[in-house]
Amino acid sequence: MTYLAKPRLHHPTLPVNAVGFTRRDYEGKISTLCAGCGHDSISAAIIQACWEMNIEPHRVAKLSGIGCSSKTPDYFLGNSHGFNTVHGRMPSVLTGANLANRDLLYLGVSGDGDSASIGLGQFAHVMRRGVNMVYMLENNGVYGLTKGQFSATADEGSRSKRGVVNTDSPIDTVSLAMIMGATFVARGFSGDKRQLVPLVKAAIRHRGAAFIDVISPCVAFNNHGGSTKSYDYVREHNDAVNRIDFVESRAEITADYEVGAVVDVEQHDGTVLRLRKIDEMHDPTDKVAALNYIQEHQAKGEVVTGLLYLDPGAEDMHAHLGTVETPLNALAEDDLCPGVAMLEKINASLR
């Protein structure tokens, strides 16, 4: 017997959301990843977030590169658009798609090999340009498809399953994304959906380059003692700086919390993130302080998670470039070929 399709039967009380779908309607094909892979939990978090936010599946585009992580878009949102690109080249294809049609929700799914090794250049530039997207990096620190060699995000001094010690310096993708200009930067853990689902929802609401690094243990090659990306290690060293309670417009916030423990961050489009602070020393709107905080705590071997940085006034690539608001596929021939008179006018302005 090979992999079975998940039975269509569901819990009798399974609810539908405002657009008439159950959570099961947001699922994709059955995963072919190893049993227990953290990536499958991330897929489940994306499904949950999209269902809760009443997102219509046909308004989502999933783009990915190559690798275990990049296979996952097949396993969620089975009724959305998808593009499996060349290794490390997801950011440029996503950028192009976004330029052509800004009305879709862009979900970039990548891994540590795809983003931090072969695709590092693309990774940096897509953040610089402020492409409006949710960039999920499913980070397990190893090349799972090629039997578990260290990837570029493996911590220095961590040990492989065969006992080899990693001597290379790791690429810290959250710091890199902040430095390159991402305006929403977070880190989650596949083993903590209570934290991850609100992060995904907040990233979807963010207008600009939103980046979530998700530590996702590789059960086959990187879940042993000596690994810094195992379920046990991350649970023991998790330094969650905050929890997101709401991603809603300000008018809808009604719940009370201890004064001082809650920060409301209003974004450009009027949406509000309500953050419950866990660590008072961390301010998610101060980029320099946030970078310092991350460096300090990572130096102590802690895995800093939560919403690490947010630029409430962020703008996206379309605002930078002043592009037309209508998706290109909705422009009529008259708009695209305005005629000889207009061409003359443009040429004249350039003389």
């Binding site: 039967l9 819990h11 399974l14 049993a35 892979c37 083993g191």
Partner: protein
């Protein structure tokens, strides 16, 4: 919450809803899998060991298993009309398609153990006692007033539901084990039987007297008014072969349904059923009501019989008072007259099927067998022993009218008691059931049961053409599933006996099982008491009577909680578990019958 103790066989037994609901605790999913595998003979033997009359029960059982079947619950809101697996009709398939099983049955014992047992009445309870005890060397004598054995099954279940060959076959299996049957010998004194020196006597005489209805006109028009159950017996023996054109059947139980359908076949053109209470409260099984209505028989409710009208000793009509149900604060119902004019229905014949009464005129009241104020024997409900220690009761004779499968269950318990009684052992120590729990893992994503859940709706059993069926009382109405339909229906079974077994020490809390579970059964959360936990599950717990499977604290301090309610037993949790913390293990549970010493031989033989 206290972690679940899966070593207690009751825990997993309760998860197998059908088997738990069956009075004889037949291992239902086990035989359904054997049917799917085409092993009809093995499926029949699993049944035969547990319920003695698979062919008879496969046609007539009251099927307490089906309302309990999980399939009906998981289809709720997934399909228009949720339906359980057709368990009863699959049982019949095993019986219809099996090979000759005689070589598999225990033969006559090579020698007697010197003990003699009398069974009074040759119905399912007595025959079960005989079957359990005869192979152990007991000399069993079965008495019955009728010339043939079978009791109620032979005399009162109409032939169009249960052909006589099926009764002959299965009753024969029991009698062929060296049981002495004294047909046509009606026992009229228990004292006399005891005087014959039997080591123990089992009373399985059923509840033979139908209740009468004493209202004006009953005596005068008596020639055309019959007690339903007696009338059915007369039909069965061919003494009655026609009925009046307009027939009223009084009563709402399964006997009433048998009466009206029989009347329809004996010339009744205008046959109607009239009940005192509401249609919903009728005691008849829903499918029996459906079958009757399918044959064009109306069921009128909220009509209380008032009188029989007669002219010159001839019945002409019945009058009924119209009532309605009124509920008081405690929910108790009373029927109060609506004050409308009485209803009057013309009729030529009336069949009274308003219940059965117990009667033991042949048991002397001075021999030590005590009766309660309802006329039922005073019994130990676990051992079936009467106040006279050598006398045991079972079937309808014990606690009033029930059904065949209960009679079988009583028979098994009584046989255990009689054996212990004869061996001088304490009757209160009941033998433990046999149970085994074996992993079904064959390889990666490979199990020894078919875990691909069928999405099919319940298949309907084909019927004989109505014209043909209604023309004769002896033509069997249901034709039974053919092999390919039986396979498809068997595949609807969720294999609830293949249990999800959780090993806390192996769990790394990766959430893979939570993510894959199609029914959202599994939750990892902080511990709490049961009510609290039920409020914090991933999917609401809607049936508190269904157990929660709770682990001890895991590494993070949380516990694993699984709501057993709507689990499909698809095994995807185990397939997605990286460490083998979840495993699918087949739980086989069998009641221990008389003389069995906990040897698991049958378990091994039937293991798929």
């Amino acid at each position: 919450m206290q972690p679940t103790d899966i070593r207690n066989p009751s825990y997993f037994h309760k998860v197998v809803d059908c088997q738990w609901a069956c009075p004889a605790h037949t291992p239902v999913p086990e035989y359904i899998r054997l049917i799917a595998a085409g092993r009809y003979t093995d499926a029949y033997m699993v049944n035969w060991r547990s319920n003695v009359f698979p062919g008879i029960l496969g046609r007539t059982c009251d099927r307490p298993c089906e309302p309990a079947c999980r399939r009906g619950r998981v289809e709720e809101r997934n399909t228009e009309k949720p339906e359980p697996v057709a368990i009863c009709r699959l049982k019949r398939v095993a019986s219809d398609l099996k090979d000759d099983v005689r070589a598999l049955l225990p033969g006559r014992p090579s020698r007697s153990n010197g003990r003699r047992i009398a069974c009074i009445g040759a119905g399912p309870a007595s025959l079960t006692v005989a079957r359990d005890l005869a192979p152990l060397g007991y000399e069993v004598v079965v008495y019955d007033g009728d010339p043939k054995a079978g009791g109620f099954m032979r005399t009162q279940v109409p032939r169009f539901r249960l052909p006589e060959e099926v009764i002959d076959e299965e009753v024969g299996y029991v009698l062929d084990m060296g049981v002495e049957f004294r047909g046509g010998e009606r026992v009229d004194s228990l004292k006399a039987v005891l005087a014959e020196g039997y080591d123990a006597v089992f009373v399985g005489t059923g509840a033979p007297r139908g209740r009468d209805l004493q209202i004006p006109g009953r005596f005068e028009a008596g020639a055309h008014i019959h007690i339903g159950i007696d009338w059915l017996a007369s039909v069965s023996f061919g003494h009655v072969d026609r009925v009046g054109r307009r027939v009223i059947v009084l009563g709402g139980g399964n006997t009433a349904m048998d009466c009206c359908r029989s009347a329809k076949r004996l010339g009744g053109e205008d046959v109607k059923v009239i009940v005192r209470s509401g249609f919903e409260e009728m005691k008849a099984s829903p499918w029996e009501k459906e079958d009757a209505m399918h044959e064009g028989i109306p069921i009128l409710n909220y009509l209380v019989p008032k009188s029989f009208e007669h002219e010159d000793g001839r019945l002409v009509a019945m009058t009924f008072e119209k009532v309605k149900a009124v509920y008081d604060d405690t929910g108790r119902r009373t029927l109060v007259p609506t004050g409308e004019r009485d209803a009057r229905f013309e009729c030529d014949e009336v069949l009274i099927a308003v219940g059965q009464e117990n009667a033991f005129p042949w048991i002397e009241r001075d021999i030590g067998v005590q009766f309660d104020r309802w006329g039922l024997p005073v019994l130990d409900p676990a051992t079936m022993q009467a106040t006279l220690p050598s006398v045991f009761f079972g079937g309808d004779a014990a606690f009033g009218p029930k059904n065949i499968i209960w009679a079988v269950a009583h028979g098994h318990e009584a046989a255990v008691s009689i054996h212990k009684f004869c061996e001088g052992e304490s009757l209160d120590e009941r033998p433990d059931p046999l149970s085994s729990l074996v992993s079904q893992k064959m390889g990666i994503h490979e199990w020894s049961y078919d875990n691909d859940i069928s999405g099919d709706r319940r298949y309907t059993v084909p019927w004989a053409a109505a014209e043909k069926a209604l023309r004769s009382i002896k033509v069997e109405v249901e034709l039974g599933f053919d092999a390919s339909t039986a396979y498809k229906e068997a595949e609807r079974c969720l294999n609830c006996d293949v249990q999800t077994v959780f090993t806390r020490e192996q769990c790394i809390e990766c959430d893979a099982c939570v993510d894959i579970c199609p029914m959202d059964c599994i939750t990892f959360t902080a511990d709490g008491d049961e009510a609290d936990l039920r409020g914090r599950l991933n999917a609401p717990s809607t049936r508190p009577e269904q157990a929660l499977y709770v682990s001890d604290a895991l590494k993070t301090g949380r516990v694993m909680v699984k709501d057993e309610d709507v689990c499909l037993h698809c095994g995807l949790c185990a397939e997605r578990c990286p460490t083998g913390a979840w495993d699918m293990q087949k739980f086989l549970f069998e009641m221990t019958h008389a003389g069995r010493r906990g040897s698991p031989d049958t378990t091994e033989r039937s293991a798929a």
